[in-house]
Symmetry: C2
Subunit: 428 residues, 2 copies
């Protein structure tokens, strides 16, 4: 047992978990370390933030997922650094030796040099983020119901989402649905459908990585849900209850109780730790520029995957921070480790781009499969099918499918709880 | 509208919600005030605390439940006092006038004069309590997996539940199931089935309000789940990681990472506020001793219900703090208000005791229907059926039923997430 090749995987996201699973039958000893006890299906996190699903529906306990994989153990622990010379992962409370190391610790929000904005404009990366955002959205309507000052009421009923990528679009669409369908008839003093939902994008169109035709379709679908899309608009300041924007030469301050951040991410600080230890280069988003085989320059035994890695692809453009990229990279690293052990030849990583999709509420989505683009109900059904398939744990698939069907017909969302230590916070 | 009789209900638990629903067709204006935006089905809270269900499965947004009841509005607000002279409910941020008032604000944990024990031995009353307890239980196993000191490991694997009433019994049974079934095969260094689970009861038997035969059945069922039941045992001190007990003349200190409190409750502090304003008497648990029609002495327009009320019943013994009592009292108060408005005669409140039940894990429960007692699989199925029926919202019924069926066959519990601000706390 002790003489077997030790593979340590840092991070139980798509990259780390798929790598671990791909090593199930390998003659290696796998240790998966995460600071959370569950794998999180991040693509559906916005549905938790808008009360459509419960956190547990999109989270799978890592131990449960890997319990039958006898060559693998799971450690709940916080990795803070690496000793590449001695081949040790340094935890907050211990060390873990490795022969091969896979680092896939993901990314976190990035406020473009304004970390102070975070308290006023939370981002969406963790279960806790999702319940905070859920609380803010629901509390805004509750406070508006009891509000007597028209200007204050208007600020409470204004929701600003910063960033027109998939997360921002999905979040804005879901808030539109909550306001127009879910909360209909729930209040006596306000009409939730009067909510202003504003999606801000710095570039000239939302979903800028998609073909322009799909961006236009997404704008139409968002408008039907009462979302105002403002492109070429940059945020210059965020404070409690207000956001200042610039569009061309115009500057404007929008009073909004709820401001949500979906504008930027940067790699986990572990990327910086690895770069310092190895001399590897970081890109502007803090990602490590990896070798063609996803390894750290000078350290073929160390793989860096997913949102932490800048893998120069088509024309030097890095691969996007999407689940399929991380999954394929995880499988590739697992395969390469096994090839090396048996002395087999290896090829550089190649990404099979099966396309990308974003959903914009009920029966509306956009899909770009490279060879074909489509939108509307069909895209939504494909989106739904793919997300159910990739959801970990069969029980969650059924729970999510049932709740989606229920939501489709009743427009109700039962997971709209205001919870947390400051569940009664009055202002953010 | 303004001239209609105004009924203000404080609290959206079983008493308040059932009162509001019973007023659906009445020619009155109903205002339901709660500091949470949801009704919580407390009898199943222990299943959230042990990872079997998600919080939203046992919580129903009050607005969604009451949205079609056009004579009713819901206010999210914190009631801090009452002005009985001017007939005003005093909120933290405003006042609300009433003609009839129903106060059903429930109860909270009581540490017998030792509030400092709460931080070491959390009780189970709210969603937040449940996620805190879930975190402590799961984290104990995680820390034990990485523990190298045998004594420390033993403390991590020791779970003490204080109080052998229904909540303590259900909690102990569920932890037994988690240790013996759910977590089987999940760890590599520890065997979760080696966990010590100790249920402490001050009296000479657990479930002391049930017939002695059922207490004995419950002990047997708990023992099968690996739970040690210690009766005639009182807690004399609780500190971080340890609990001191006395049994007869013997004093003993048990080292335990997880100590849970299910020993006592006291009425909401609003009972004291009402007593001070009206001169009503409080019992030792802080409950108001109400009139035969559930009103405050001298204030026939003020009803006090559920866990806040001491209603002297059979031989002066107060009714227990159970959901059916609160439900029936809520309906009674709603009916009495309507009778008064139409000048109809009224009778004192009468409790229809349909019995009580407690469950002790998979396929095991005890039931006392007064005219018959039974236990085992049949009792469990009846318990299951009744809880599904009384669960608010049809969607939740299906979600809970599915998760129970899934859990029954697979023994898995997917809602076992370690979440919260201090998700990585190392010691409590």
């Amino acid at each position: 047992m002790a003489s077997r090749h030790r593979v340590v995987i840092v991070g139980g996201g798509f990259g780390g978990l798929y790598a671990a699973q791909a090593l199930a039958k390998a003659d290696v000893q796998v240790t998966l370390i995460d600071h959370r006890n569950f794998h999180l299906f991040q693509p559906l996190l916005y549905q938790v933030a808008t009360g459509g699903l419960s956190p547990a529906n999109i989270a799978a306990p890592l131990r449960a997922v890997l319990k039958r994989q006898r060559n693998t153990r799971v450690l709940l622990g916080e990795v803070i650094n690496f000793d590449l010379e001695r081949r040790l992962v340094i935890l907050k409370d211990g060390t873990e030796p490795y022969d091969s190391l896979i680092v896939a610790a993901g990314s976190r929000h990035h406020y473009f040099g304004h970390p102070e904005w975070e308290q006023f404009a939370p981002g969406l990366k963790s279960i806790e983020d999702a319940t905070i955002i859920r609380r803010r959205i629901l509390l805004a309507f509750e406070l508006a119901e009891r509000c007597t000052d028209p200007e204050e009421c208007r600020a409470l009923m204004t929701f600003v989402i910063v960033g027109g990528g998939p997360t921002g679009v999905e979040l804005a669409g879901a808030i539109g649905e909550v306001a127009h369908a879910t909360l209909r008839g729930n209040f006596r003093s306000i009409d939730p459908a009067q909510a202003r939902i504003i999606l801000l994008e710095g570039l000239d169109r939302i979903l800028s990585t998609y073909p322009p035709k799909l961006s236009a379709k997404a704008v139409q679908a968002l408008q039907r849900l009462g979302v105002t899309v403002r492109t070429n608009t940059r945020v210059t300041d965020v404070q409690a209850g207000q956001v200042t924007i610039r569009c061309g030469d115009q500057t404007e301050t929008i009073r909004a109780h709820t401001v949500l951040w979906a504008a930027g991410v940067e790699a986990s600080p572990l990327a910086k730790a690895l770069a310092q230890a190895s001399g590897a280069e970081l890109d502007r988003a803090g990602r490590i520029i990896v070798q063609p085989d996803l390894t750290l320059p000078g350290h073929p035994e160390v793989f860096v995957l997913g949102d932490m890695a800048n893998y120069p692809y088509q024309g030097g453009k890095p691969l996007p921070g999407l689940a399929p990229v991380a999954m394929q990279q995880g499988r590739y690293a697992a395969d390469l480790i096994q090839r090396r052990l048996r002395g087999a030849p290896s090829a550089p990583f190649h990404y099979h781009d099966r396309g990308s999709m974003a959903t914009i509420g009920r029966a509306a989505a956009v899909a770009d499969l490279g060879w074909i683009t489509f939108s509307g109900l069909i895209a939504w059904l494909v989106w739904l099918f793919i997300h159910i398939i990739y959801l970990i744990e069969f029980e969650n698939r059924i729970l999510v499918l049932f709740q989606w069907a229920w939501n489709y017909f009743t427009r109700n969302r039962t997971a709209r709880l205001i919870t947390g230590a400051d569940a009664n916070e009055k202002r953010t």
